[in-house]
Amino acid sequence: MKWLNKVFFPKKDKTSERLKLGLLLFENTSEVIKAEKILQKEGYKIKVVGPPPEVRKGCDLAIEVPVIEITGILNLLKTKGIEPLDFISFSENEILKPVDLFQVKDFGNYLMVRAANMKITVDKKTLVIVNVSGGGCPDVPYLASILVGVSLKDTFSPKDLAHTLCGYALHLAFKKAKELLCLV
């Protein structure tokens, strides 16, 4: 088992731990407590912490959450009537900013819009979504199975069914496609 010797699993620095975390900031402490209870009940790995001064808004408590699952967490809290003031994603000590630019490719009868790692393609004439590509989180195949065949004119929004950052990026691409095809 020579290969065993190649990997020792040395004690890692905290980088990989920090890489996966974000902070939810709230207006007041009672919201933090309520949110903590709801999220723990659903099995999310979360922790109540004090927010660093540079990101402090509202109350002095924040909830540390797994960044990948932020969309599902926000959707869950919203259904319970709780809306955090803000969400901050960290990597080491740097505040990360989500991608806010889009790429557009025109295929003649079809328009493809990319936001981060997600792409949505729409038939320009019928405004029907014909394909969804990119991404690696499990809500992507789920959202793709629902979105393909749906018209941009429908009131449906992928954000309502998204649970991960891939799902959220898909929502951004969906919104941008709507905007480009003059529906908003």
């Binding site: 099995g43 394909n131 690696g136 989180c137 195949p141 069914l161």
Partner: protein, 284 residues
Amino acid sequence: MLGIVGTIPDESLPIIYGTPVLEKNFLIIQGWKIPVERGTAALIASAIKTLEVLNTPNPFVFLVGDIGKGKGSRELYKFLAENIHKYNFNVLTFHYILPDVDGCLKVILAIEKFLKKPFLIADAGFMYAVKMTGYANFFDLFTPDIGELAFLADEKAPHPFYTRGFLLAEEKDVESLITRAYEYKNAPPYLLVKGEKDRIVVNQKVLAIVEEPFVPELEAIGGTGDTLTGIVSALVYAGYEPEKACLIAAKANRLAGALASPTPATQISEIINFIPEAIKTLLL
């Protein structure tokens, strides 16, 4: 044995494992009929189609239902951590799953229990998770697209959504991203980078570039990356050297796409049906 691990977008699906068969556009396994749409089902179907030509047994798969809530993914990580070492795999491919550092590390620890380490391939959510654990070089092959390569190259990004300078990631940037991904030890020995040009990379060096046939519509079609990972997994399992397997897979995936005469509205199942013809054209 070729093992494939991933999720299916159906919450009612418990953890199932076994050898599926492909009937028309459905995977049949343990009484479940799973449609071959994009995602892990497309990867498995592509592997089966490739293995069929090579007269090699179908893969053994571990699947669970997850629509992004993470419950199924967490159960699957736990199951694999406790059980995967009981099986004997030559090649193990990990695919769609909710990225989770702890879960992924436990699976890696379980893989260490194998007497002989399988050839390890990761794509999609599991590749994101492996990068976050810092053990990319425990794996043998990643199959990122250019955006995911930018994520591997960004040592601080926890997910492609936060990759710094993501949209600057174009074909012209690929080689510098490859260098950076290796510099930060976020890449395994082999990379198959999917894009307008597919690049086969071994230890930071681009060994080959595949750019024909070029079918621009394929970029819009969900699942073309999944099929590529399925084909390369099957070829490595069938005994092709990793470089050769990547090269053939990249060509076959493009050729299957071209044979389908696709539009941006073509669905991946239509392309999968052309994989045997593409493989035969290249190998027989």
